[in-house]
């Protein structure tokens, strides 16, 4: 006969073992750049991914609506015309954590990606291209939000 108390003690041990072995979801993905997603500014996020200071460039573009009616679903597209892109980033300046997405691009992909982001309030949205030669270029666009997407 097993008491409830023994049962609880045992399950705690098992949970501890699982956590130690890395089976619990908190450490499900070691490769995910936690520091970059915790960053509060564009420069910090780029730095956390190992890039230099970003420079504004015409060769990178960000497209999206001028006014988004629903901040929970804002379609954005980032693109660049330059060859040799390693990563494309999408950032929303006034979200609690600025970084929305990192795309690791290979040669088999056109550096032109679209997705949808959430925006808490009207702010600038950045597209950042991290080049193979270490240059970091960005473009920005202001998107106005009439209804916030963070629980409002």
């Amino acid at each position: 006969m097993q008491t409830r108390r023994e049962m609880l003690a045992r399950s705690a041990t098992v949970a501890g073992l699982l956590a130690a072995a890395g089976f619990l979801p908190t450490s499900a993905l070691a490769a995910w750049p936690q520091a970059a997603f915790d960053a509060k500014t564009l420069a910090d996020a780029v730095k956390a991914l190992g890039g230099s200071a970003p420079v504004e460039s015409k060769d990178v573009s960000i497209t999206g609506p001028d006014i988004a009616e629903n901040g929970a679903v804002v379609p954005v597209a980032c693109a660049t015309t330059l060859p040799g892109v390693k990563r494309l980033l999408v950032l929303v300046e006034k979200n609690p954590n600025v970084l929305a997405a990192v795309f690791n691009v290979t040669d088999a992909i056109e550096p032109n990606l679209s997705t949808r982001t959430k925006m808490g309030q009207s702010s600038n949205v950045f597209a950042v291209a991290m080049m193979g030669d270490g240059k970091v270029l960005f473009a920005s666009k202001e998107i106005k939000v009439t209804l916030g997407g963070c629980g409002g």
Binding site: A28, V73, N97, V105, R116, K118
Partner: protein, 103 residues
Amino acid sequence: MADPMRIRAQAAGDKTTVRVLMSHEMETGQRKDAAGKVIPAWFIQEVTATHNGKTVLTADWGPSISKNPFLQFVVKGAKAGDKIGITWVDNKGDKRTDEATVS
């Protein structure tokens, strides 16, 4: 296991446009429920796209991607009949893989 993804891959010349619609809550971890408790974050962290088994794109996502995420990208050199595979992994370790044929 989450619901299947909807993937459309359409070839035009030597380029193929792939559109993916995933089914996921994408909870940010910032919202509160009716009782005032924070709803834990639950979002897709990693997305991988393959073309005939070769990885062509990987993405790391944060919680500020919209619910039921949409992703569009263009694969160079993919022809009709090729396979495009998409895999995502969320922060709870849940994953899903779906495949589509280029048309």
